[in-house]
Structure formats: structure tokens, C-alpha cells
């Protein structure tokens, strides 16, 4: 297409957006709302993933050492644990430290049992597996080590339930997210399709007086691009301010345990998905839905 055609397309696209103000605003509005929903949902989902990972990292177990274990047994146990490929963290907790903690919970009620001679608690290792879901198998394995009295990891049922819940939450949020993404694709392309349909007469007349397909498509593509870009930029800006404010609120209320992902990395993720979705669909939608009318 010669330069004249390109320029004509730009002018024509802008004029057409202005001429069909109502439609342009409505289309952009649909894209904005759709991507806003999708984006805020992505924010939530990213943070759910983040929290899930954090929760899994906190899954620990305790290896209690047999009171009668020999020094060699203790030493080989320590070496085994430290070099174990499946463990992310290994920490020794002496019987004294354990009693301290008990006292912290039960207070003075166990005060009488704090001296070393009376202390009924064993020495132990607190360990954290790399893959939280492996905890049951790991416990079985470690229990068979010499010098190990018992391996405890919270209630087995509780741990399993926790994983199940996390799986369900992830599944649901993934499903909703996938649904929203499909909705977004469907809506944006359908909106553009209707827009083109309303102008089918115009398109056909252009063909009848000798316009090439690309000459007709080009302004529509630009229009789709403008609608898609605005439709992606506005929700991104809105989400940026919203999320930034949320993080600020969390920090100022000392709710740091909520553990939100930092603003820049989240926004990067959003930009990566929303911009191509908005502009890509705008352009592709125009192209595909035009084909029918351009074939005359």
C-alpha cells in the first residue's frame, strides 16, 4: 500500500472513531470492563498462588531422637538429615529449647519441670521438606533411621486436608480465571464483529467502487488497535492504583502476614497478558469479522 493509503487509513480511522462516538465508547467500554475484571482476577490469583507457596513452605515436621540413642547414631542421623536431598531446612532443637517453648504456651503450669533432670522432653530436629506434599513419605523414611524415636508432622489428616484445600482453591481460581479469559476473548471479538456488521453496507459499497481489501481493512485494523490499546491501558492504570493502594493499606495496618507480591512484578505480569489480549483481539476481531463483507 502506498504512503497515501497508509495516511488515508490513519485519518479515516480517527474520523470514524469520532463519527461513531457512541459505538467507539461502548466498544472501548466493553474491552475496559472485561480486561478490568480479568486483570483484578489475575491479581487475586497471583497472590493466592503466592500465599499457597508460602503456606507450603511452612509445612514442617519434627524428628524426635531416642533418649537412648548412642553418640554415633546421633552423629550419623545429623549427617543423613543435613545431606538429605529432599529437605530444605534442618534445625536441631535441644530438649531444653523444647521445654522453653512448652513453657511459653503453658506458662507457669509447667514451671516445676524445667530443670534438666526433670525435663521429660527429648532432643529433636525440626525439618522442612522441599516439596510439601512429600511429607508423609519422608516421615516414613526418616522413622526407619537408627536413633529416631518418632517422626511427627502435625496431624496427618490436617496436613492432607490443608493440601486438599489449597488444591481446591487453586483449581477454582484457575477455572474462574480461564472462564474470564474465554469470556474476554469472546466478548471483545464479538463486540468488534457487531461493530463491523453495523457498517457492512459501507464496506460493501467501498468494494463496489474499486477499493482493495487491504485499503478497506486498514482503517478498521487501526480502529481495533486504538480501541484495544485504550481498552488495555485504562484497566492497567486503574489496577496499578488499586493494587498500590492495597499494598499501602496492608503495610500501614501491619497486616504484613498477608504477604502481597510486590507491585512492579505483578504489573509486569498483567501487562504481559492484558496488552496483547486487548490490542490483539481488537485487530484480529476486525480482520476476521470483515472477511465476509469484503468478498464481493
Amino acid at each position: 500500500m502506498p504512503f497515501n493509503g497508509l495516511l488515508y487509513g490513519v485519518v479515516e480511522a480517527l474520523r470514524s472513531l469520532y463519527r461513531n462516538k457512541g459505538m467507539s465508547i461502548a466498544s472501548t467500554g466493553i474491552v475496559v470492563i472485561t480486561l478490568l475484571m480479568l486483570g483484578s482476577f489475575m491479581l487475586v490469583r497471583l497472590n493466592i498462588n503466592h500465599v499457597t507457596k508460602a503456606v507450603k513452605e511452612q509445612v514442617e515436621m519434627v524428628v524426635f531422637i531416642d533418649e537412648n540413642a548412642t553418640l554415633e547414631e546421633r552423629e550419623s542421623l545429623r549427617a543423613n538429615l543435613v545431606s538429605h536431598a529432599g529437605l530444605a531446612e534442618v534445625r536441631f532443637v535441644s530438649k531444653e529449647e523444647a521445654m522453653e517453648r512448652l513453657a511459653e504456651i503453658w506458662g507457669d503450669f509447667v514451671a516445676g519441670y524445667r530443670s534438666a533432670e526433670d525435663n521429660p522432653l527429648p532432643d529433636s530436629y525440626e525439618i522442612r521438606p522441599i516439596v510439601a506434599e512429600n511429607i508423609v513419605a519422608l516421615a516414613r523414611e526418616l522413622e526407619r533411621y537408627p536413633g529416631v524415636e518418632k517422626v511427627q508432622y502435625g496431624e496427618e489428616e490436617f496436613v492432607n486436608n490443608l493440601f486438599a484445600v489449597l488444591r481446591v482453591i487453586q483449581l477454582i481460581s484457575l477455572a474462574l480465571m480461564g472462564g474470564l479469559a474465554i469470556l474476554a476473548i469472546f466478548l471483545i471479538s464479538h463486540t468488534i464483529r457487531l461493530t463491523v456488521f453495523i457498517r457492512r453496507r459501507e464496506i460493501m459499497i467501498m468494494k463496489y467502487v474499486g477499493a482493495t481489501n487491504w485499503f478497506i481493512r486498514w482503517p478498521f485494523i487501526l480502529e481495533g488497535l486504538v480501541i484495544g490499546s485504550f481498552g488495555a491501558a485504562l484497566p492497567l492504570a486503574a489496577l496499578y492504583y488499586l493494587y498500590d493502594a492495597s499494598v499501602g493499606w496492608v503495610v500501614s495496618n501491619n497486616l504484613l502476614f498477608l504477604n502481597l507480591i510486590a507491585v512492579p512484578s505483578v504489573m509486569l505480569e498483567l501487562v504481559k497478558y492484558l496488552v496483547p489480549l486487548g490490542t490483539g483481539l481488537g485487530v484480529l476481531g476486525s480482520l476476521l469479522s470483515m472477511d465476509r463483507f469484503v468478498r464481493v
Binding site: 497515501n4 493509503g5 463496489y208 467502487v209 474499486g210 477499493a211 482493495t212 481489501n213 485499503f215
Partner: protein
Amino acid sequence: MIEAIQLYQRYNEHNSFILNDLNFVINRGEFVFVVGPSGAGKSTLLKLLIREILPTRGTLKVFGQDLTRMPRRRVPYLRRNIGMVFQDFRLLEERTAYDNIAFVMQVTGAPAGEIRRRVPQVLEMVGLSEKIWDRVCDLSGGEQQRIGLARAIINRPAMIIADEPTGNLDPVTSLEIMNLLRGINIRGTTVVVATHDREIVDRFRKRVIYLEDGRIAGDEQKGVYVRAI
């Protein structure tokens, strides 16, 4: 310029043929009226010439090219060489007279200055200088028809095809418009006009092709509206 050989056309399998075994040649620079009763197939014939529809059977050559074999992407270039006035106008209703006419120059990549110069010129020729910035939907029936004609002639095409170009015009304006077409024809452009305007046909004494029920019932040089039997 135009050559039809055993040309047949029907819109669907169940119907009879709308055009039935047409054979004719129109040479460069000719001025031809196509006449016939309502529903005879005049518009169908003209639609074939710009490849709006493809013939069901037979050969149709325009500018020496066989339209039945023309690849789809060549069609726009065919249409740029033909200025067509449609019976139902086919104007962009919401756009101005200027936009409607300028568009066909933009299609060919004409420079902006040239467009700004030519559009008022042709509007002047059809007597609508005042209406240049009016939207087409705000014009009268006859004014719209003349916008259609202005659009057809602006690119100085090699051939002008006009389907009933004076149906909405009073006799005086009709004559002016037809004289305009005659002037263009004298400078070498082929002109094909489908019309019901007995006055015009009788006055012009040009070649007349008589269509009746999809067949060529007559083809006379210097003919009049009613065929000599």
C-alpha cells in the same frame, strides 16, 4: 471493450434463467442504451459487467479480460476502470457529498491536492456545488442520484455504466445529465446506460439493445425506445 458469448445467468437452481443466451459486442467509444420492461434483466446484465455477480454459463470479456477467470484480487482494479451509477445509488448515507466522491480518488492513491481540486469540479458538473458539505441522507432523491453520477465520472474511467441514472430527475435535469454523459463519450469513454426514459432515448438516437424476458429482442444503431418490429 465488452464481449458476451452465450451468456446465461440465474440466481438459483430452481428459478429459470434471468439472462438467456446473450451475445453482443460493445466497442470502445460506443454509447449504448439498454432498454426493456421492468424485471427484464437490465440491472443483472450491468452487475455482471463489474463482476458484482458471476455468470452462470458463458463467457464475458471486459477490457479483453475474461471475468469468469479473473482472480478475486484483480476485481478492484477492474472496477476502478469502470464508473458505475447504481439503480439504488449505494452511497455512504451518513457521509458528506464530498466524502462520497473523494473516496474513489483516495482508493487509487490520488494526491490530496488533486482530490481537493477535482471534487468541487465534478459537483459543479452535476449542478450540486452548494450541497458539497451536506450529508447524502439529507439530499433529495434526484440529488443523491447525481452524487452517484459524480462519483462515477471523477476518476475519468475508460467505461461508464449507469443503471437508470435519470429515474429521479425531472426532464430538464435529465437532459443535462445525459448531455454530460454524451460529452464524456465524445472524448472517448464507452458509455452503457440502462434506462426507461423514452424521451432521452428517442432524442439521442444511439445504439439501443432491447432486453425482453432475459433475451436480446433487438439491437439497433440509432434506435428509438420502442423497437421497430
